[in-house]
């Protein structure tokens, strides 16, 4: 089975600090893959490399069979790699609906290039159904800057899905959420279409084990272990790493 996303021998240095050293990663179509490890392990750096906001000094990133290493975040998003940030990134002065419409437009424009009048309507329709799905229909007309943190997180997921991604990068989606909101988030992520592959970076192992099919453990910028959640849970290497002070 070929990889949807394949990162090979990725290395990133910040001055004398090696953030990533020769990391390999493969995510298949529809797979839920988690990246875990202690602070400074290189999880977010790897996500940045895949999302296009950090250029690696060495290694390659291929997506859907194509080398995307030279592409920026916008071009990667148009190819199907969308990201949810650690701190919900929304457009605060636009309403929830307008936020999702903006996120849906690149995809809609590409499909309906010759019917410009219909693009806004199509995006609006898609935004309505996504907000309904996320339970945000009641706040559709509220500026995103006035939404609660948990609602902004749901809105950001709706925005990411509006672009019909093939791979969703989730950077600590549970950060700052209450227990109830985490429960809702788990439901939302489980309800994602199987066509969407997920690469999840998360400190909370309970969340990782609940959501992922496979897990990669990073430590000091290198791959420590990779396998199913059960294999990772029982791995002596990982236990040792976590005994050394991983949260």
């Amino acid at each position: 089975m070929t990889c949807l996303l394949q990162a090979q021998d990725v290395s990133v240095r910040y001055g004398s600090l090696a953030a990533l050293t020769g990391v390999d990663l493969c995510v298949h179509d529809g797979q839920r893959h988690a990246l875990i490890g202690p602070n400074g392990a290189g999880k977010t750096t790897l996500l940045n490399v895949i999302g296009g906001s950090t250029k690696p000094q060495r290694g390659s990133v291929r997506f859907a069979g194509r080398n995307v290493g030279r592409l920026g975040p916008a071009a990667r998003a148009r190819r199907g790699i969308n990201r949810i940030h650690q701190r919900p990134a929304v457009f605060p002065t636009l309403t929830a609906t307008e936020n999702v419409v903006v996120a849906a437009l690149p995809r809609v424009i590409r499909r309906r290039r010759w019917w410009p009048g219909g693009t806004r309507r199509t995006a609006q329709h898609r935004a309505g159904s996504l907000l309904e799905q996320m339970g945000l229909a009641d706040v559709a007309a509220v500026p995103a800057g006035h939404l609660a943190h948990g609602q902004r997180r749901q809105l950001e997921i709706a925005m990411a899905l509006a672009g019909r991604p093939r791979l969703l990068l989730l950077d600590e989606p549970a950060a700052g959420l209450s227990a109830t909101e985490v429960g809702r988030l788990v439901d939302l992520l489980r309800a994602l279409p199987r066509a969407v592959a997920v690469l999840l970076v998360e400190h909370r192992l309970d969340l990782v084990y609940a959501l992922s099919d496979t897990v990669t453990v990073l430590r000091d910028g290198r791959t420590l272990a990779a396998g199913t959640p059960d294999e990772i849970r029982t791995s002596p290497l990982v236990r040792q790493a976590y005994a050394d002070g991983v949260s």
């Binding site: 999302g51 998003a77 605060p92 002065t93 995809r107 309904e132 706040v139 309970d206």
Partner: protein
């Protein structure tokens, strides 16, 4: 209730201003009509400043550059090729757009204060070129004796200040209406989103530089068209019409009117220019002082501009946000998810 009252008052004031603008030529003298026409032209440049500063998030001090390009292109065409207003408008808008397009590589990649500095430098360069290119621009003496404009082929020339004012009013109303319509399309939505968070917009897959370049060129075309209206109103232009003080006053007017509002920019720019021109006669030498006081008072009392006077429960206030509907995605307590208890 209070919102409704404020909304009605706002609409009434807007309607009164519109009626006043339409009937003005029949109730004011020639001099005032000429000042009003010039003020409208500058207010249209203010709209282009608001489009860049408030909508696209690129604060600018350089819109007098395409304004000057449009005015001189119009003056040259009006003197040597055609006295038809539509032709002059198209040429002026084209000249403004071309100048803006040429400066895209300098302006669009920059952000914040850097944009202000680059656009100011462009403005100063253009004014310097206008002052030295005597064979075309007449140098610092400017171009005078430009023929009165005819709005369309077959129509008589606009011989009076009142007629020229009405022509200016129609063009400004048409262009402002077009800008307002554009801002209601997806292009306006994407520009506003980019002003909020450009990085997020890129992450959604939008070609942000393309939108910003388009906004810059469009604003240049609007300023260029405004330059044509200045020529129609004054029948004389010189580099002094396009200096730094005009740029600064326009930005001041847009800030006073509310940067994110096209109507507010129109009102603010018109207010500032009118205060400057009328007080020049009434309080000689004191107009800058009054403008300074007006600016400080606006920033302190109405930080969002005069157009943004809002009721107590208007959108600037955080609305009551209902919680997400639980039935759409049933929320479960974290502890009730078996896997999460591990």
């Amino acid at each position: 209730m209070m919102d409704e009252v404020i909304r009605r008052v706002r609409r009434s004031v807007a309607a009164l201003v519109l009626v006043g603008l339409v009937v003005a030529p029949w109730v004011v003298d020639d001099y005032t009509a000429a000042i009003l026409a010039r003020t409208l032209a500058l207010a249209l440049v203010g709209v282009s400043v608001a489009l860049l500063t408030g909508v696209a998030g690129m604060p600018t001090l350089g819109q007098t550059a395409p304004y000057a390009a449009g005015a001189y292109a119009c003056a040259v065409v009006g003197s040597q090729i055609s006295d038809v207003g539509v032709v002059q408008l198209v040429v002026a808008a084209g000249a403004g757009a071309v100048l803006a397009a040429l400066t895209v590589p300098l302006v669009v990649p920059a952000r914040g204060v850097i944009v202000l500095m680059i656009t100011l430098a462009i403005c100063e360069l253009v004014v310097t070129v206008l002052g030295r290119w005597r064979s075309v621009t007449g140098g610092t003496d400017g171009l005078a004796g430009i023929a009165a404009v005819r709005p369309f082929w077959g129509l008589p020339a606009l011989a009076s200040d009142q007629a020229r004012y009405l022509y200016t009013l129609v063009v400004v109303a048409t262009l402002v209406g077009a800008v307002l319509l554009l801002l209601r399309t997806r292009v306006g939505l994407v520009l506003r989103a980019g002003r909020d968070d450009e990085t997020r917009l890129r992450a959604s897959g939008h070609r942000v530089p393309l939108y910003l370049s388009g906004a810059h060129i469009l604003a240049g075309a609007i300023a260029g068209a405004a330059g044509s209206l200045l020529v129609v109103a004054q029948q004389y232009i010189s580099p002094a019409d396009f200096g730094f003080d005009t740029s600064a006053l326009l930005l001041l007017g847009v800030v006073i009117g509310g940067t994110a509002s096209v109507g507010g920019a129109l009102v603010g720019a018109a207010l500032v220019i009118a205060v400057r021109d009328w007080l020049f006669g009434v309080l000689p030498g004191h107009a800058p002082l009054v403008l300074g006081v007006l600016f400080v008072a606006t920033v302190y009392l109405l930080p969002s501009g005069v157009k943004r006077v809002r009721g107590p429960r208007d959108r600037s206030q955080p609305p009551t946000v209902p919680p997400s509907r639980p039935d759409a995605t049933p929320a479960r307590d974290h502890a009730t998810v078996p896997e999460l208890r591990a």
